[in-house]
């Protein structure tokens, strides 16, 4: 089956050619991918595969580095580096911190 990421040659409309500055969190995700794969906690191929398996609308709804984040998270959970409970608790903690500062 043709993966929803495998879109070479498909109708895509106009291409946005404008350069974008990267936000700090995007640079951090990039660094995390490099560090974790260099430490052999997973391979880039595992992370790419995890991103390909995201639901079809992930490619429309998630930003580029949000997809990376989802891929990294999937790999770390599968490899047992972190637990789902740890991720859930941390996400709740960050959310609480953000709404405090808002």
């Amino acid at each position: 089956m043709r993966g929803h990421h495998d879109i070479g040659g498909a109708e895509a409309g106009p291409v946005d050619r404008e350069e974008h500055d990267l936000a700090l969190w995007e640079k951090r995700v990039d660094a995390m991918m490099m560090l974790l794969s260099q430490k052999n906690l997973f391979t880039v191929d595992e992370a790419r595969f995890a991103m390909e398996k995201l639901p079809p609308n992930a490619y429309e709804n998630l930003k580029y580095y949000e997809r990376w984040m989802a891929g990294i998270c999937d790999c770390l959970l599968r490899r047992g580096v972190i637990s789902a409970d740890e991720v859930g608790r941390k996400m709740a903690e960050v959310k609480a911190r953000q709404s405090e500062s808002a």
């Binding site: 495998d6 070479g8 040659g9 391979t43 191929d45 595992e46 790419r48 595969f49 490899r79």
Partner: protein
Amino acid sequence: MSAPLETEPPLARFRVGDRISVRRAYPPGHIRTPWYIRGCVGIVDVLYGSFRNPEELAFGRPGLPPQPLYRVRFQQTAIWPDYAGARHDTICLDLYQHWLEPA
């Protein structure tokens, strides 16, 4: 991509200048051969060396034996029936040996 592994030309079935066709195959999993190029005929441009197979690495396995990786050149007009660019335009793809057959 990491440095090529030790297995160089002995394992390589194709040489620069060989005519190959890309297998018309549709396996599941993490496949780096784009859908649009399957079944197309091209010419081997470069043999990069051998690399662990990403289709296996994607499942957390070692990806051995390493697969020779080639750069293959295709005529754009052969891939896209309605190609509007210059007739001599080409496109190059990096393809692993197990996706290639003599043409």
